[in-house]
């Protein structure tokens, strides 16, 4: 579904992603982990065609990303927006409806099918109680859920999330993870999420990819990737600080 083939990405002269090769099959559920500045978000930007690699190739559903236009990419990959900095008052349901833009008839706008998908996404993410409110007045956590609902409404085969749980309380963190598992297992959506919480990653994701210094340092089952020695090496902290579930789900 998504392949990065020997990809190097540089901002100006600084290489932030170095010779990265990843293959993600359709229907996988993957968490990207690693310290700040490891290149996780850059990897997502390269995967979604926002950043052009210095070398290497990115393929999305078989086609090189650089040959796809934005609309093609948006129909294949939904990316949860990092922020919703709305210039005008916008109701929650109108924000979620923006997820249908790639599917809308360019001249006639949203059709009943689009409205149904929007309503279904609102229901599924559980933001129905926020309807009618100006999205700019929501708490950070509520806004995060609304943006996840937008990406769910986009209904692309690949769903990408960059730190989807940062502003969520514990209950909503677990709720968000369960939603991702449900989207993955019931709908077959391929999920790629950047996570900082190693416990959540280990518990809810069967495959972890760890980045450090722009390179992939580990890729596999949580139990293999999150070895105490590697946590000490990559994060520079005493591994006993990280309480991981005894048996990660596989």
């Amino acid at each position: 579904m998504l392949e990065l083939d020997d990809v190097t990405v540089a901002y100006h002269e600084r290489r932030v992603l170095i010779d990265v090769s990843v293959s993600v099959a359709a229907g996988e559920r993957i968490a990207l982990i690693g310290p700040n500045g490891a290149g996780k978000s850059t990897l997502l930007a390269a995967a979604s065609g926002l950043l052009r690699p210095l070398k290497g190739e990115v393929r999305l559903a078989g086609d090189p990303v650089r040959e796809l236009d934005r609309l093609d990419i948006a129909r294949r990959m939904a990316v949860v927006p990092g922020e919703a900095n709305l210039p005008f008052a916008t109701r929650v349901e109108d924000v979620v409806a923006l997820g249908r833009l790639p599917h809308e008839d360019p001249f006639r706008g949203a059709r009943p099918a689009d409205r149904a998908a929007t309503a279904a996404a609102i229901e599924r993410v559980g933001v129905g109680h926020l309807l009618g409110r100006d999205a700019r007045e929501l708490s950070l956590g509520e806004r995060q859920l609304v943006l996840i609902a937008l990406a769910v409404a986009q209904a692309a085969p690949v769903l990408v999330l960059d730190e989807p749980t940062v502003h969520l309380d514990l209950r909503h963190q677990v709720g968000a993870m369960e939603l991702l598992v449900d989207l993955n297992e019931r709908d077959g959506t391929t999920i790629i999420a950047v996570l900082h919480d190693l416990a959540l990653a280990a518990h809810f994701f069967p495959r972890l990819i760890m980045l450090d210094g722009g390179r992939i340092v580990a890729d596999g089952l949580p139990v293999d990737v999150l070895s105490p020695a590697r946590i000490l090496d990559v994060f520079g902290v005493d591994p006993t600080f990280v309480r991981l579930p005894v048996s990660p789900i596989g």
Binding site: S48, L50, D69, R70, L71, I73, A74, R75, M77, A78, V79, P81, G82, E83, A84, N85, L86, P87, F88, A89, T90, R91, E93, D94, V95, L98, G99, L101, P102, E104, P106, F107, G109, A119, I122, E123, V125, G126, V127, G128, H129, L130, L131, G132, R133, D134, E137, L145, L150, Q154, R171, H172, V174, G175, A176, E178, L179
Partner: protein
């Protein structure tokens, strides 16, 4: 998530003052069109020679719809209606519609509620062009445009082109760069305008009249020369409503929603600037319409460009038509003064009401 499974129906949007019209944009548009028709009849009737509304309707029906109506009016009345008042009121509507749609586009594109059609230097460019035209002792007519209209049009487009080109070479984020470059270029052009006004001597009043904006110089030929530019560019903007909607969440989110942000920004900037340039060429600098009308429309129907753009066109046309009628009733004060006097309190009123109804 799994909690908070409230259905859509149990949590309907809060309905406030605007709740009734929000889901009825077609009703709103219809009301706007009726207001425009009334303005047309009123605008033809008002002036130094008052014309009876019945005569107005009869003349309009006879001349423009080809209806077979017995002629009960004098030929002089018909001349006033057809040759003077009609082009004037239609020009007011055209310019109002142009400024409002351009304002809505600039606000959405720059993601800035304070943006208006003049924000990226078009106003200063047009003003300097007009001032230079006044100072040049030649009278030229190209495509129905006098020298003032022609140079104002070219000045506005030249200014936005320079702003766009310069902004691309900056290390700043594109939107910040556009706004700051627009400000800098605008200031430079304003200095040029001040210089031109200082040197103008007796022609100062002519320049000043242009700056205030008016429809005194409206003619059929100028109206018809501008109409296709504004109409075609406005339709092209309407067809790109999706891009403006995507930009609501920011440029990166827009890209992820399938919008080629750089290309759309270039195209929409060009179209909105073209509309603005055509409007300021025939009317001068009329403020407030382009800033306020899109905001009022957004408060009524929400921020979707699919609704905001067409309703702004209708609203802008109505606002300027009525403003011009009032300006004439008040003895010919500049229409730009009327738009500000009318528009500012109305805008403040809307903002106050919006607190209790639709949350701003």
């Amino acid at each position: 998530m799994t909690t908070h499974r409230e259905t859509l129906r149990t949590a309907r949007p809060r309905v406030g003052w605007f709740g009734g019209v929000r889901d009825r944009p077609i009703l709103l548009g219809g009301l706007g069109l009726v207001a425009l028709l009334v303005a047309l009849v009123m605008g033809v009737g008002v002036g130094s020679v008052a014309i009876d509304p019945a005569d107005t309707i009869a003349i309009l029906g006879h001349r423009f719809l080809g209806l077979d109506i017995p002629q009960t009016w004098s030929p002089a009345t018909e001349t006033i209606v057809v040759e003077l008042r009609m082009p004037r009121i239609l020009t007011a509507m055209l310019v109002g519609s142009a400024l409002a749609v351009a304002g809505a586009t600039f606000q959405g594109l720059l993601r800035n509620p304070l943006a208006d059609p003049y924000v990226l230097g078009t106003a200063s460019g047009a003003a300097l062009g007009a001032a230079i035209a006044v100072l040049i002792p030649v009278r030229l007519v190209i495509f129905q445009f006098g020298l003032i209209q022609g140079l104002a049009f070219i000045g506005a487009l030249a200014a936005i082109t320079v702003v766009y080109k310069l902004s691309r070479n900056s290390g700043l984020a594109p939107l910040t760069s556009l706004l700051l470059t627009g400000y800098a270029v605008g200031s430079l052009l304003a200095a040029g305008l001040a210089m031109a006004m200082y040197l103008s001597g007796a022609a100062l009043r002519q320049i000043f009249t242009y700056l205030l904006g008016s429809f005194d110089a409206a003619t059929w030929s100028r109206f018809l020369a501008t109409l296709p530019i504004i109409l075609l560019a406005s339709v092209a903007i309407l067809l790109r409503a999706r891009s403006l909607n995507g930009l609501l969440l920011g440029e990166q989110a827009a890209a992820h929603l399938g919008i080629d942000v750089k290309r759309e920004r270039r195209i929409l900037l060009a179209l909105a600037s073209l509309v603005t340039a055509a409007a300021v060429a025939i009317s001068g600098l009329i403020g407030f319409v382009g800033l306020v009308v899109p905001h009022v429309v957004r408060l009524l129907v929400g921020p979707s460009a699919r609704l905001v753009l067409p309703l702004s066109m209708i609203g802008g046309a109505a606002l300027l038509a009525y403003a011009d009628i009032i300006a004439r009733l008040a003895g010919g004060i500049p229409v730009g003064v009327v738009t500000a006097i009318l528009g500012a309190p109305f805008f403040l009123f809307i903002l106050r009401r919006a607190r209790t109804g639709y949350e701003v």
